[in-house]
């Protein structure tokens, strides 16, 4: 498995922006959960930023490939060259300008201060000092809130921030006025409202490139200027906001709400399909590949751990200790965002498989070792006296008996793995929970959508536990 993944690294065709081709393929990072700028409508990615990006690509002669990820994953993805540009209402500020290249702005907007309806002591930025604000950790608005003295609680996106406000878990959210208006229109919520403006300053949002990609930025910039001049940007903006947000004074924004006033039942019906796709394309293949590869790793490590050779035993112990002693999330981050810095870059899916396999390997190794040790000494001796060498003895006599002992604890590992796959959205892999998040960001229907995703997980795990029973019966048929 590791070898295969290793080859994948070497063999990944360069979709990199550095290529001096006529039509470079640009991988565009975007949230997909930030209506009306970047969201999914009936499974298709759409929104103001998406349309602008497509228009820029047409004009500049790029091919684009959208990569969806939570906001806080976008800059790390840009840094690790997993994406080439971010189209997600990234506000231009000094810190970012020092590290990245911005195009001309394509959105002019105002920050607003949002609180629960019954909160009446927060109307300006000065009021949020000492309050708790829910923000995407790395967003410009988080920095604004922090600078104003608020304590920032990190969330995945605006919809979750709004939900925390409704629940009274946080005091305030600072965000772009258009996104807030869209949320209010989509959900019809009267529980939160806009209480004030951030300040008089207009914030500007633009496309972001890496420092090294000056020529790409210049091409995008030229395209944006042309689209602004020929009225294309204004047209896109009018379509979404009935106003031109691509210039400073484009009129008052009016939004209908991207969520489209669906009932809870309709939301669930619309989301069940994409979630099932998330199960079939994400959860299930991730689980199968990682479990099979993980067991292979575990068997090797367990045997090494029991070896009489110290040079095998010590690394095996270290590996097990490392895997069991660090959070899976950290392992995912190290492999996905960390390794590219030393030149090992895996795409999201293989990276997720590698992290999950290594994780399963560490836990299952100890299970397998324990199971082998619990096979009676006499079985080793009997196999030895009929002349079996070590490998044959293991394969034909010891492991089949150890397997029976290992099935219940390994089933636990498998079920944990199924559920751990819900973590991989942080490495840009889409699975069930990510689909639920996307739908919830449009509609605010957290409870039904999360329950539905829980149902999917439960059904998978239930089916697996039936399989476990059958396997135990089959392996245990000789024990009367």
């Amino acid at each position: 498995m590791i070898v295969v993944l290793g080859l994948a690294v070497v063999g990944t065709p360069g979709a990199t922006a550095g290529d001096e081709q006529d039509r470079p393929v640009l991988r565009v990072g975007t949230e997909g959960t930030y209506p009306p700028f970047s969201y999914e409508d009936g499974g298709d990615l759409t929104g103001y930023d998406i349309d602008v990006m497509k228009a820029v690509a047409d004009e500049a002669g790029f091919d684009v490939e959208f990569v969806e990820a939570p906001f806080d994953a976008l800059f790390p993805a840009l840094d690790s060259k997993r994406i080439d540009v971010i189209a997600n209402q990234v506000t231009i500020n000094d810190e970012r300008e020092a590290r990245y290249l911005f195009t001309e702005p394509y959105t002019f907007s105002r920050g607003v201060i949002v609180t629960a309806t019954d909160t009446d002591d927060i109307t300006t930025l000065d009021d949020i000092e000492g309050k708790v604000a829910a923000q995407s950790e790395t967003s410009n608005w988080a920095q604004v809130a922090r600078d104003a003295g608020a304590e920032v609680q990190s969330v995945e996106g605006f919809a979750q921030a709004a939900e925390l406000l409704v629940q009274g878990r946080v005091d305030v959210v600072v965000n772009d006025n258009i996104a807030v208006l869209d949320y209010l229109a989509s959900t019809g919520s009267t529980e939160i409202e806009i209480k004030g403006q951030v300040d008089d300053e207009i914030s500007k949002q633009a496309l972001v490139f890496r420092q090294a990609d000056g020529d790409l930025r210049d091409r995008a910039d030229a395209a944006l200027k042309k689209l602004a001049a020929d009225g294309t940007l204004a047209e896109i903006s009018e379509g979404y906001f009935k106003a031109d947000v691509s210039v400073e004074d484009g009129g008052d924004v009016e939004v209908e709400g991207s969520g489209g006033g669906r009932s809870t039942w309709e939301v669930l019906q619309d989301t069940a399909g994409p979630m099932l796709v998330g199960v079939l394309k994400g959860t299930i293949p991730l689980t199968i590949i990682s479990f099979v590869a993980g067991l292979a790793i575990a068997l090797g490590v367990a045997l090494a751990r029991m070896s009489s050779v110290k040079a095998l035993r010590l690394p095996a112990r270290f590996y097990i200790s490392l895997i069991r002693g660090t959070p899976l999330l950290v392992q995912l981050f190290v492999i996905f965002y960390g390794l590219p810095q030393i030149g090992i870059k895996l795409p999201g899916f293989p990276a997720a498989c590698l992290a999950l396999s290594l994780n399963v390997g560490g836990y299952a190794a100890e299970i397998i070792r324990g199971s082998i040790l619990s096979v009676p000494r006499g079985q080793f001796e009997a196999a030895t006296t009929i002349g079996m060498p070590y490998r044959q003895l293991m394969r034909r006599i010891v492991l089949p008996q150890a397997a029976r002992i290992a099935v219940p604890p390994l089933s636990n590992t498998l079920l944990s793995l199924v559920k751990d796959t819900s973590l991989v959205s942080v490495v840009l892999v889409t699975e069930v929970l990510r689909e639920a998040d996307k739908a919830a960001s449009l509609t605010g229907e957290f409870l039904p959508l999360y329950c539905l995703s829980a149902l999917y997980f439960w059904v998978i795990c239930f089916a697996l536990s039936i399989g476990q029973d059958k396997l135990e019966k089959k392996l245990g048929r000789y024990a009367v």
Binding site: Q379, E381, T385, I386, R477, Y478
Partner: protein
């Protein structure tokens, strides 16, 4: 070691665990077709001697030869591969019957018996199965081919264990207290099978406490005490022991019956 016409030659076996000597200079010979009985109180080293014959225990010094295969434990080859080969060759000369049978629980009766011949000796499954059925008949278990060990009584399990050892067509059959773990009413059927083997001319080395049975089958008796052979002779050792330690031991064993 010179060839003396004996099938088994054991010389100068020594073994100690830490400061405790388990075997001190144990040696014996046995001719083809004979039955050697190892007797002695627990801790006397008799099982260690038996397990040295197929290198389940590795003595610190001494030589074991069975037929053409010999291992000199005092001068094992340095090369790991060579060492393994010597030991494997010696092991291939014997079959072992364990006190607690050690049948493979995940294989059927037939599967247990053909495992060695097919997987190790490379016999064809058909050939090995035919032989296995013949052996099962010999030990009185025809018809139980497809049973799993857990479905058999202790005596039946031990008889399968004997068939498994014989299937390898070894030069020597080693039996380590083959009836000690059995309920008393099952001992007879197993002893009857072993007696049968002796009459068929199998060469056997047995560790047992069944003195009366030993009288029937033994061509040679070794009485071990504290890691040395305290007395040796024919079956008459059991009825007319010369050493006091042997007399004491036999008295205790016979009284316990």
């Amino acid at each position: 070691m010179s060839t003396t016409g004996h099938l088994i030659e054991v010389e100068g076996l020594r073994k100690s665990f830490g400061d405790t000597a388990v075997l001190e200079d144990v040696g014996f010979t046995a001719s083809s077709g004979t039955c050697t009985v190892l007797l002695g109180p627990s801790g006397s080293g008799k099982t260690t001697v038996l397990r040295s014959l197929n290198v389940l225990e590795t003595p610190d010094a001494g030589v074991v030869r069975i037929g053409e295969a010999a291992v000199d434990f005092g001068e094992l080859p340095r090369d790991k591969g060579l060492r393994r080969k010597e030991i494997r060759d010696l092991r291939a000369r014997s079959g072992m019957v364990f006190q607690s049978h050690n049948l493979f629980p995940h294989k059927t009766v037939l599967g247990n018996i053909v495992e060695g011949p097919v997987q190790v000796q490379g016999q064809s499954p058909e050939e090995a199965e035919a032989e296995a059925r013949r052996l099962l008949e010999q030990v009185g278990l025809a018809g139980r081919e497809t049973a799993y060990p857990a479905q058999l009584s202790g005596g039946q399990q031990q008889r399968v264990g004997i068939a498994r050892a014989l299937a390898l067509k070894p030069d020597v059959v080693l039996l380590d207290e083959p009836t000690s773990a059995l309920d008393p009413e099952l001992v007879g059927e197993v002893l009857a099978v072993i007696r049968d083997l002796s009459q068929q001319g199998w060469t056997m080395v047995i560790v047992t406490h069944e003195v009366r049975f030993a009288q029937d089958v033994a061509d040679q008796v070794l009485f071990l005490h504290s890691g040395v052979v305290a007395e040796r002779g024919g079956a008459e050792v059991l009825t007319d022991p010369q050493q006091e330690r042997t007399q004491q031991f036999l008295r205790r064993v016979l009284e316990a019956r």
